[in-house]
Symmetry: C2
Subunit: 308 residues, 2 copies
C-alpha cells in the first residue's frame, strides 16, 4: 500500500521498448523496470514523456502497468502517467492505477487546447479527482510546458492543494527553469516537488525537493542515487558535477532515442532502440558517437550482468 | 456507402452538448446533427476541435458516432475526427468509423511531442493506414497548427498522397493562412482541400477547393451553403462578404463557447452552453453582447422551428 510519506528519491520515467510488430514489448519492459530498481531507483514513473507514454493507447498502458504489478516490484513505488486531453480517459487510466495499488499518478494537464484558463484547468482536475473518487489517489502534477505547452501556474497549484490537500500532493517540474522550481518549493513547503532533471537535484534537495524524476535515470540511476544519498556530505557538489556533466553530454543528442540506443548497445539487443512514431531511432553514426563520447569523457557503461 | 467523389460542400464540425452529469448529451447531439443537415450542411465532421473532440474519451466518441449512424443521417456524409497522439488509439477510432460506413475520417497528426520529423509523421500515418487495413478508409489530414502545434508540410502531404493515393484524399487547412491553402491547391490539384474557415470559401472554390469545414457552420450553414451553391454567380463576392463579416463578428469572442451560447439562446435551452474542461462557458454578459451584436449588425437569428 502507498506509503503515507509519499514518494522521495530517484524516480525513472521508464523507457518503453517495442517489438517487431510495433506493439510494446512486455518482456523487455518488465526486465528494464526490475533492473532500474536494482540500480537504485526508489520509484518508477512509467508512461511519462520519456516513456513515449502518449504514443501508447489506453489499453496498452493498462496492460503494461498490470505487467509491472505482476512482477516483484511494489506497486506503492509506481507513479504512472495518467493524464490525457480528456477528463473521461484520464479517469479511466487513473482509476485503473489506483485499483492496482499504485502509490501515485503523474498527471499531465489537458494538452490539446492551448492557453486554457486557470478556472478551466481547475475544473479539469476537480472532475478527474471527483470521478476517481478514491481516498487512495495521490496526484503528482506534471508540469512540462516545453512539450505539453499547457502548464501549472503558482496560483493554480495553490488552489488545487487547498481544494484537495490529501490528494494533490506533489509536482514534477520539467520546465527546465530552476527559478520556477524554487518558487514552487518556497510557496508550498510541504508539497513533494521533483525537478525533471538531475541537474537541479542538489539545489533542489537543499531547498526541500523530494528528489528528481529524470529521463536519464534510465541509464544513470546509480550515480544520481549516490548524490541523493550523500547530499549533506562534503563531496556533494563534486558528485553533482559528475551527474550534471553526464546529463549534458546525453542531452546533446535527441534524448529518448539516445537513451534507447544506450540500452540497446549495452544489452547487445539492437531491437531495444526501436521508437514508435512520431519518433525515429537515433541514426547509427550518432549512436556510435554518443557511446564513444560517454565512454571516453565519463567512463560510462551500463552493466546488465545482474539483470534478468 | 462512401461516394467515390468524396466529400464536397459545407461541412460542420459538430458542437458536442453535455448533460448535467458532465457526459455527452446524445439526444441534444443527434438533434443538432439533424438540424445541421436540414440547414444545408453537405456533411458533418464530429469530434473536431470545435466539437471539443479531444476532450472526449475514446468510448464516448464511439458511442456518439453510433448514435448519429442510428439516426437518419447517411454515414457516407460523416467525417469524424479520429486522430490521437497514439498510433494504437487512432487505429481503434478509425477502424470503428470505417466499419460504421463513414465516408472519411479527419485525422490530426500526433500532437503531444513537438517538432517531430517528417519521417516520423510519415511513419505514424503509414502505421495507422496499414493497421486499419481497409480499402474503404478515406483519410482527410487535419492541419491546425495554431492548436495542434504539429502540422503537415507540403512535402509530407505529397509523400502521403504518393504512398496512399486511394486513401489519403484530402485535407482541412485550419492554419488560417490562405497562402498555405493556395500552395496545397496548386501542388496537389486532385486533392480535396477544405479551408477551415468560410472566410476563404470563395477564394478557395475559385482555386479548386472542395468547400469548407468551419466551426461557424454550426450556426450559419445556410448562408455558407448559399455561397457554395452560387459561387459562379454575379453576386458571389457580395454573398461572400456577408458570411465573412458574420464570421469575424463571431470570432471576436471565444469561438466554441460563443457558438454554444448562440445555440442555447435560440433553442431556449440554457444547458446547451455547457462546456467540458478545460473550456469554460461564455460569461452571460458576453453572450448577451454577442447575441445583440449579431442581431443588430447581421440580422442574425437561428430558427429551430423545423428542428426535432
Amino acid at each position: 500500500m502507498a506509503d503515507k510519506r509519499g514518494f522521495s528519491g530517484v524516480i525513472a520515467p521508464v523507457l518503453t521498448p517495442f517489438g517487431e510488430d510495433g506493439g510494446p514489448d512486455t518482456e523487455r519492459f518488465v526486465a528494464h523496470c526490475e533492473w532500474l530498481m536494482q540500480e537504485g531507483c526508489t520509484g518508477l514513473a512509467p508512461f511519462g514523456t520519456t516513456s513515449e507514454g502518449n504514443s501508447l493507447g489506453l489499453d496498452e498502458r493498462m496492460e503494461l502497468l498490470e505487467e509491472i504489478v505482476d512482477s516483484d516490484i511494489d506497486p506503492a513505488k509506481l507513479m504512472p502517467g495518467s493524464g490525457t486531453p480528456s477528463v473521461s480517459d484520464t479517469i479511466v487510466l487513473t482509476k485503473h492505477a489506483v485499483e492496482l495499488g499504485c502509490g501515485g499518478v503523474l498527471m499531465l494537464p489537458p494538452y490539446y487546447y492551448k492557453a486554457p484558463s486557470e478556472e478551466g484547468l481547475y475544473r479539469f482536475f476537480s472532475e478527474v479527482i471527483e470521478g476517481v473518487d478514491d481516498d487512495a489517489l495521490k496526484v503528482y502534477l506534471y508540469h512540462i510546458p516545453p512539450v505539453a505547452q499547457v502548464g501549472f501556474s503558482l496560483p493554480l497549484i495553490g488552489r488545487l492543494i487547498k481544494a484537495f490537500p490529501e490528494t494533490v500532493v506533489g509536482l514534477k517540474d520539467s520546465s527546465g527553469d530552476w527559478s520556477n522550481t524554487a518558487a514552487i518549493l518556497e510557496a508550498y513547503p510541504k508539497f513533494e516537488v521533483f525537478p525533471g532533471s538531475e541537474i537541479f537535484l542538489l539545489d533542489g534537495l537543499r531547498k526541500g525537493a523530494a528528489g528528481c524524476i529524470s529521463a536519464t535515470c534510465n541509464v544513470s540511476a546509480a550515480a544520481i542515487r549516490n548524490v541523493y544519498d550523500n547530499w549533506k556530505g562534503g563531496d556533494a557538489d563534486q558528485l553533482q558535477a559528475g551527474i550534471t556533466a553526464l546529463r549534458k553530454a546525453i542531452q546533446a543528442f535527441p534524448m529518448i532515442p539516445a537513451l534507447k540506443a544506450l540500452v540497446a548497445h549495452y544489452r547487445k539487443d539492437p531491437g531495444w532502440s526501436k521508437m514508435r512514431p512520431p519518433f525515429t531511432e537515433l541514426p547509427a553514426a550518432d549512436a556510435e558517437k554518443l557511446i564513444k563520447q560517454l565512454a571516453d569523457a565519463h567512463n560510462f557503461r551500463l552493466d546488465f550482468a545482474k539483470a534478468a
